[in-house]
């Protein structure tokens, strides 16, 4: 019976199949039923959160390490990857994420280079030996403006976003402190990892609320939507995907808090993994802020 139990997981197929619910959510979204869409995506998130919480609870009850928590001995001796230990997976995952964001930001910015006369595409193209008639990939210079002809600095609220950037950088600092505390083994103290993680999550949530406020005011006051030229379309693509990653990061941090609280946290590597992800999100935001808002 014991062995039977080990090779069967009740939660995994439920999580896997619950992606159907997200799928139906997206389908409702595409048909314009936003309330239904958010409900369905919410159900999906609830399933994921529930299963992770259940898993953490199960691990807190057992003393021995779970099978995917231990790093195989022969791996520790590996000359190339050995030093990474348990953090290897987040690095592999981050490769994919780096490619993802490089592409979003890179594509949007190259579109801008071609479409925006002001950024000197012709000079760059001449320098690189590319065709200068601006039809690389079939694009042409329509200007980096929205439907009313406004440039980025005329539409976007830059002081607010600068403030928001500082908010996010602060959260990176608290994340570093959380990791430091975890390294020392201080998880539950007043200045321990748990409290710093909560702080980070709180600041992250502040960042998200400011961003939502910005979106609402842009859409209502400025009539600036995804239909506002390539500028509008890529703006929402970049900041939207970043926002979703921040949300994911906050959920991940809250899981860590729960893990500390329930006593399932055995060493600092989980906090470090969360930290790596969080810092990655910060770096992406700084890139975005520079390329979307400031340039």
């Amino acid at each position: 019976m014991e062995e039977e139990h080990e090779h069967v997981s009740g939660m995994a197929p439920i999580v896997g199949l619950s992606f159907a619910v997200t799928g139906f959510g997206l389908l409702e979204f595409s048909q314009g039923n936003y309330a239904m869409a958010f409900l369905l995506v919410g159900i999906f998130l609830a399933v994921v959160v529930g299963s992770v919480v259940k898993e953490i609870k199960k691990r807190s009850e057992t003393v021995e390490a779970h099978e995917d928590e231990e790093v195989p001995i022969q791996f520790k001796k590996d000359p190339i990857f050995g030093f990474m230990g348990k953090k290897l997976w987040i690095w592999i995952f981050l490769i994919s994420e780096v490619i993802f964001f490089t592409l979003i930001i890179g594509l949007s910015f190259s579109l801008r280079l071609v479409v925006d006369e002001g950024l000197g595409y012709r000079e760059i193209a001449k320098f690189c030996g590319l065709p200068t008639d601006s039809n690389l990939f079939g694009l042409y210079p329509a200007g980096w403006v929205d439907q009313e002809g406004r440039a980025p600095h005329e539409v976007l609220d830059i002081p607010l976003t600068t403030l928001n950037t500082f908010v996010l950088i602060t959260s990176s600092y608290t994340m570093v402190k959380a990791h430091e505390a975890a390294e020392k083994g201080d998880f539950l103290g007043k200045w321990g990892a748990r409290n710093y993680l909560l702080m980070t999550a709180g600041i992250g949530a502040t960042f998200l609320s400011i961003q939502v406020f910005e979106y609402v005011s842009l859409i209502i006051n400025e009539n600036f939507t995804v239909q506002s030229g390539l500028f509008g379309a890529t703006f929402y693509l970049q900041t939207g995907f970043h926002g979703m990653h921040v949300l994911g990061g906050i959920i991940m941090i809250l899981f860590m808090v729960y893990k500390i609280q329930s006593g399932a946290m055995k060493d600092s590597s989980d906090v470090e993994i969360t930290g790596l992800y969080w810092h990655f999100i910060d770096v992406v935001w700084i890139m975005l802020f520079t390329l979307v808002y400031l340039v």
Partner: protein, 522 residues
């Protein structure tokens, strides 16, 4: 002669195991079953399309439905048949090959598999008449939720493949047997490593593209619209810079399987192993910079076509090296001619036929005629059906006794082989001829081509293609029948089903050591 080691277990009849299994072999089998279900229905779509094309003129399918069929046929065959087979065989074989108990994340493995099921549901329910390339503006102006379903299905499939890729990489990096260095790693595991790398690096591209198309449809975002300064060509570049590497996601595991089978059945090691690995690396990396060869006729002057012609031609070099290495693996061997070996030879044949036609398609003056004609269809079907699916069928026969504890019926397997090879050569060979005669792909009715001087030939070769397709249909029916029937009624398998020693599969520790201390002969 039944042994204790192999007994038939019908684990999948227990619903708890069926859904919740986290054992790599069982998840591998789930992937294979999933892929079988999909190939049966997607294959039926292909047969319906070919039957409609047997005679010129409208027969029994409406044009719009027909367009839905080729979209779903293409998408399902790529994402839920060949890629799923790659993931399934990787699941089944990789832990064995590297001496691990299981994959590194057994439960994520289960999640990745069950995500594919809703993904395939969304693609199957879409029947969107857009083609698997979903070029805007056609895919964007189309009303209803068909295209949205298709997009959602692919986003889910992409997410699943990223999870699978991370899992495979972690497994190979973390869980290798002590002493099994990267150099000693066998070629199949290498091919899975390269496959996982492509999935990891290329899937973000298609996810972004799909999300952009999704937003363009649902919110009217202007990513591909001409009056915002963008262009529908932008999608083509985003799409192909994923979809070309995706071709290698399909073919790399098949290459690995072929290396495995040919070397095992020739009872030698693969000839030139280092060059095989380097070739795979070269194919993987070059695969990312060749996408522009899909756009020679879309925008002939930018980006520069000569660059993409050159990079694509360069891929022919590692492919050629691999082909000759496979052949020379037989040199001075003791070849046991059995079903899996024959299928591996069939892979080499399909790969060579697809390869030479690929070189033709890539030459711009020829591509100006061949692009988007049946020539292209014939080319990539040679690679994927004649190549990848042959290797996969061979591998399934190879591990059949280990999966089920029983032996398949050899006579039926040979019948499958003969129908399969003749079928695919007839179908895709005549598709190549059709393309050269000027018949564009995705044509529901070719009677409009009657003004072309070679119209008689077009009708003739369409008929041959249909006959070949039905031969493949018969072959696959035999395969599926053999697979299911033998699992319940077949003979119990011997310990050594092929009368050969099979290193790295089903091996004891001693045998592992012997293998690791092998001498190299010059």
């Amino acid at each position: 002669m039944a042994t204790e080691r192999k007994t038939t277990s019908y684990w999948f009849l227990d619903y708890k195991k069926f859904f919740g299994t986290i054992d790599h072999k069982q998840i591998g089998m789930l992937y294979m079953m999933f892929s079988f279900v999909n190939i049966v229905f997607a294959g039926l779509l292909a047969l319906i399309m070919r039957a409609e094309l047997y005679n010129p003129g409208k027969d029994f399918v409406e044009s719009r439905d027909w367009a839905g069929y080729f979209t779903v046929h293409g998408t399902v065959m790529i994402f839920f048949v060949v890629m799923a087979m790659g993931a399934g065989l990787g699941n089944y074989l990789v832990p064995k090959m590297i001496g691990a108990r299981d994959l590194y994340w057994p439960r994520w493995n289960n999640i990745a598999f069950w995500m594919l099921v809703p993904a395939s549901y969304f693609v199957w329910s879409s029947m969107a008449p857009i083609g698997w390339t979903a070029y805007p503006p056609n895919a964007i102006v189309l009303g209803g939720d068909k295209v949205d379903r298709w997009l959602i299905g692919l986003i889910l499939a992409g997410t699943s493949s990223v999870i699978g890729a991370i899992n495979f990489l972690l497994t190979v990096i973390y869980l290798r047997r002590p002493g099994l260095t990267w150099k000693k790693l066998d070629l199949f595991t290498w091919s899975i490593v390269f496959m996982a790398f492509i999935q990891l690096a290329a899937t973000p591209v298609i996810t972004i593209g799909l999300v952009m198309e999704f937003l363009a449809r649902s919110l009217g975002a202007t990513y591909f619209s001409t009056n915002a300064g963008s262009s529908p060509l932008f999608w083509q570049h985003v799409f192909w810079s994923y979809s070309h590497p995706a071709v290698y996601i399909m073919i790399l595991p098949a290459m690995g399987l072929t290396s495995l089978i040919i070397s095992r059945f020739s009872q030698t090691e693969v000839f030139g192993k280092v060059s095989m690995i380097l070739s795979m690396a070269a194919i993987t990396l070059l695969g990312f910079i060749v996408w522009g060869h899909h756009n020679f006729t879309a925008s002939p002057n930018s980006p520069p076509g000569w660059f993409f012609t050159l990079t694509t031609f360069l891929i022919a070099i590692p492919s050629g090296i691999k082909t000759f290495n496979w052949l020379l693996t037989m040199y001075k061997g003791k070849i046991v001619v059995d079903v899996p070996f024959l299928f591996a030879i069939s892979f080499v044949l399909g790969f060579v036929l697809g390869g030479v036609t690929g070189v033709m398609v890539n030459t711009i003056p020829l591509d100006l005629v061949f692009h988007d004609t049946y020539f292209v269809v014939g080319h990539f079907h040679f690679i994927i059906i004649g190549g990848a699916l042959s290797a996969v069928s061979g591998a399934i026969y190879f591990i059949y006794s280990d999966m089920t504890g029983r032996m398949y019926n050899r006579k039926l397997a040979y019948a499958h082989y003969i129908f399969w090879v003749i079928g695919y050569i007839l179908t895709f060979g005549s598709m190549n001829v059709l393309g050269a005669l000027g018949m564009p792909r995705r044509y529901y009715d070719y009677s409009v081509l009657s003004i072309l001087p070679n119209y008689d030939m077009i009708v003739l070769f369409n008929r041959i293609a249909t006959i070949g397709a039905f031969m493949q249909g018969i072959a696959f029916t035999i395969f599926v029948f053999n697979f299911i029937y033998s699992a319940f009624k077949g003979e119990l398998a011997d310990e050594k089903p092929y009368n050969i020693a099979i290193p790295r599969l089903w091996m004891t520790d001693e045998e592992w050591e012997q293998l690791e201390n092998m001498e190299v002969m010059h």
